[in-house]
Amino acid sequence: MAEQGIGARVRRKEDARFLHGRGNYVTDMLLPGQKEVAFLRSPVAHGRIRRIGKPKGLEHAVFAREDLVGAESMAAPSTLPGYKVSTQHPLAYGKVRFVGEPIVMTVGATRAEAEDIAEQVELDIEDLPVLVDAQTTRAQTEIRVHEEWPDNVACQINFESGFEAKARDAAVVVKRDIDLSRQAMVPLEGKAVLAFWDERMSQLMVYTSTQAPHIIRIGIAQMLHLEETQVRIISPDVGGGFGYKCILQPEEVCVCWLALKYKGKPFRYIEDRREHLVAGANSRQHHYKLTAYADKTGRLLALDADIAIDGGAYSMWPYTIGLETGQATGNLPGPYDFRGYRAKTQCVATNKPGFLPYRGVARTGVCFAMELVIDAIAREVGREPWEVRMDNLVPTTAMPYDNVTKKHYDSGDYHKALRLVHEKIDLPKWRERQKRGEPDGRLIGVGFASYCEQSAHGTSVFAAWGLSIVPGYDQAMVKITPDGGLEVRIGVHNHGQGMETTMAQVANQILGIDVAKIQVMHGDTGLTPFSTGTYASRSMVMAGGAIAKACQALVPRLLHIGAHLMQCAVNSVRYENGKVVGPQSSVTITDIAHAWYRLPFRLPPDVDLGGLETVMAYKPKVDTGAFSYASHAAVVAVDIEVGSVEILDYVIVEDCGTLVNPMVVDGQMLGGAAQGIGTALYEESHYDANGQPLASTFADYLLPGPTEVPAMRITHLQTPSPYTEFGVKGMGEGGAIAPPAVLFNAVNDALKGLGVELNETPLTPRRLLAALERAGVKGGMRAAS
């Protein structure tokens, strides 16, 4: 057996079924008598529902809010200062608050039929004035998204530490307005839910595409007044989550209500792409007004931040809009060592879909803002941006380091990552080429960005936000099978992270059982121990840690039985690679499993009655998070005639502590970086003044494809976290954090001679050309050149 434990490059066990099209998604499921559900969604951004007219003869297939008797509305509490609860009905009631909000649910034998019925429903909605801009809406009190609120500020966090004293002596002051556009997360698979009442189990069976089956069980039970024992949630294969599926969806509540109302009949809803792009445009939109104070060398002294987050219409259950607001405020200082900070972060309700934390959460935004400001400081003081970064990074000698917002950076060498990325991108080579100029007239630019990333943050962090559900101990159940294999059951969910392989590697590290004989089971509340689920780059730290603990707990039991089988003393045996080794002989885990399950007369009389299975819980010694970090660098060629940006080179140097499987980490980095490139250059859910979404198909909502994502070069550093099992840190989100910052810095580097700087995602040709036109920059390309 080849090395398969922590650090081994084990091929992903789950790939065979995915690559051969044998995955099993909700969309693949077909049950006898299954009905399909469609939603009629609001065509206006803000309005009062005057009448819903059901088509004659089809009333039985049409459901509005008032029909959903027994279904509660969703309201997510938080104790953050000034936080306001928004009540979201599973189907709109009284008012609609964004285009795409579900108003009516229809049922048909096919989806087409359900849509035909939805089309015949008459809606009479009185238009209300629409709030689409967070900056102006935060001062608006006349028109309100939620009338019961005094204004539209859903949540506000103020932070101040050492600001005045540190800002006072600054030689350099740099001000910037920095904006990120709204985005949809666009998993390959959107929402998907299938529910029916199982009479034999007396349970509501729910197959749903979620990152957090146990949380959905709590939610569904609560919304539909069921005991949690009456609800079983199965999250089968899931085509990507990215945060879109870590909350309770109104459509889940609606479909489950149908399944309860019409017991025995299965109902299914599959979100289509247009619904996703319209009703799921719910992330990334931050607006920053930053003032940075530095000395004349560019050493950062203090930062003043005014942040507006476009929160959309609803604060979603259970994580609320406070998550984004808190992360934006707390993480803006990034990997830098400075002691003066003042921030006012307002999350503003608008007539758009309710904000959700997307891969990277607020950190893609704060990294973008902070890194653009670092480059602006560098230009102001006339130095290379990477050098200014070097001067400001938290030194490794200061680790563990409590930053200005009291974030506890556990470990790492931030300088080394930046130094390496600078080496690998070969800055002098590109500076030389920049000087020569390109034959085709394009302009070359080089950009850098550094970040650190709180991962697997736990109880103390979430409790501070006052949420109704706070992650604590994650559990794992491990069970040796009668043939000496292993079942591992975890409450997190695998939807692209490779966990069916990497979690098996963790078990292999402790018990030495061949990864092929380890079955990782997840995504089913009926089979797995409780977990709040997969989000916040937590699964390997939390569930991986629990698996290690559980496996470790089995070892003494194996030694005890093994020693008895060899008729030697327990203190004379040791556990090694799936065997109990004694002074003269050894027994395999299979021998021990046989003894326990099939030949019990061989067992010692005082055998541990826990048998060969156990559940253990785990959380890190310090639960404020293990901080991963990285530096990215990129080279771009900017065509100032047509406004295009080509990525010529892209390098990542990252440190997520101990690597469990380098190939899986590479995959996560590349996938995340591809999404970051989307944020930087392509993806935008834009709205007109009436709150109408203008990107409702992939013709208007562009994603990077294979030819837009360059061949990125990745280097891993490994600084183990002192607080986690094996020293692992979360890394699922990191790739998506830096690309917007690094690509904008590269473009701004290319344009710096022209007096043009871009500060708003995505960097579309129109935005680029508009900035050049404003600056009076003529194109450099001639046909004759």
């Binding site: 005639e641 198909t697 004759a784």
Partner: protein, 276 residues
């Protein structure tokens, strides 16, 4: 989204398709490759009562060498033209343009006639065929007629076709050995419709000098003066100013940004022409 209900028939020949179109009274639509119509049906933006499938009509599927021209059946897919690269004497530009349309899965089904009839302002064929001085053969119940490719598309999604007419073939004159051409489009990503596009064909032997700019609000527009200047004086005549002025005159509705983008693409097409 799923399509609203419609009836479906498969036409055996062009005459049957024309007859069915006429009977459909404006509520019938032809289905060839379905690469534009399919999404429009599913979004319920197109709601025909009847779909007439013409994709199996053999008479529309030929690529014929007619001495001085290529006769391309309307039902020929982009990928067949792409794969004919090196075999289309005097028509190499057709294979080049076909190979750049969307991506292979679309090219495998999408047809040259379907693209022309759909008349998307940003599509490749209306632009390329205008520059190549091609003719469109149209068949209706009353018989067949020919329309120059640069007059076939009238505005966005509107063509010369009457309610009972169908595109039957495209006649593309062969370029002479000394001809030069350049085709350039700027797409934000591979496979997308372009933000701006341009085609240039200079064939002194055939006294053909054409530059067209595409991806406008309507049909591609000629830059006749610039084409003449390029034919007479070469690349030196194509200054940034000259290109900008030509684009501004041909498409006065463009704002400064779009003008810059289109002018940039025309410049690239010219570069390619003189490098060819």
């Amino acid at each position: 989204m799923k399509a609203a209900a419609f009836d479906y028939m498969r036409a055996r020949d062009v005459a049957e398709a024309c007859a069915a179109l006429a009977q459909g009274n404006g509520k019938a639509k032809l289905l060839a490759g379905g690469q534009s119509l399919g999404p429009m049906l599913n979004l319920r933006l197109a709601r025909p009562k009847l779909l007439i499938d013409v994709s199996r009509i053999q008479a529309l599927a030929g690529i014929e060498d007619k001495a001085d021209a290529w006769h391309i059946g309307a039902g020929v897919t982009h990928s067949r033209l792409e794969d004919a690269a090196g075999k289309l004497g005097g028509g190499a530009m057709l294979a080049h343009v076909a190979g750049g349309i969307a991506y292979r899965a679309v090219r495998n089904r999408g047809t040259i006639g379907g693209s022309l009839a759909h008349a998307d302002p940003a599509a490749d064929w209306p632009l390329a065929l205008a520059a190549l001085d091609a003719a469109v053969v149209i068949r209706g119940r009353a018989g067949s007629r020919r329309v120059a490719a640069d007059r076939f598309m009238k505005s966005a999604f509107t063509t010369e076709l009457a309610a009972d007419e169908i595109v039957e073939a495209i006649i593309v004159p062969k370029l002479s050995a000394g001809a030069r051409w350049g085709y350039h489009k700027f797409c934000r990503k591979t496979g997308e419709f372009p933000e701006a596009s341009a085609a240039c064909v200079l064939d002194p032997e055939r006294r053909l000098a054409r530059i067209y700019v595409g991806a406008l609000t309507g049909a591609p527009q000629p830059l006749a003066g610039l084409a003449r200047a390029a034919a007479e004086r070469g690349l030196a005549a194509c200054t940034r100013e000259a290109i900008h002025e030509a684009v501004a005159a041909a498409a006065p509705q463009l704002d400064a940004i779009d003008r810059r983008m289109h002018a940039g693409v025309v410049a690239r097409a010219l570069q390619k022409t003189f490098q060819s």
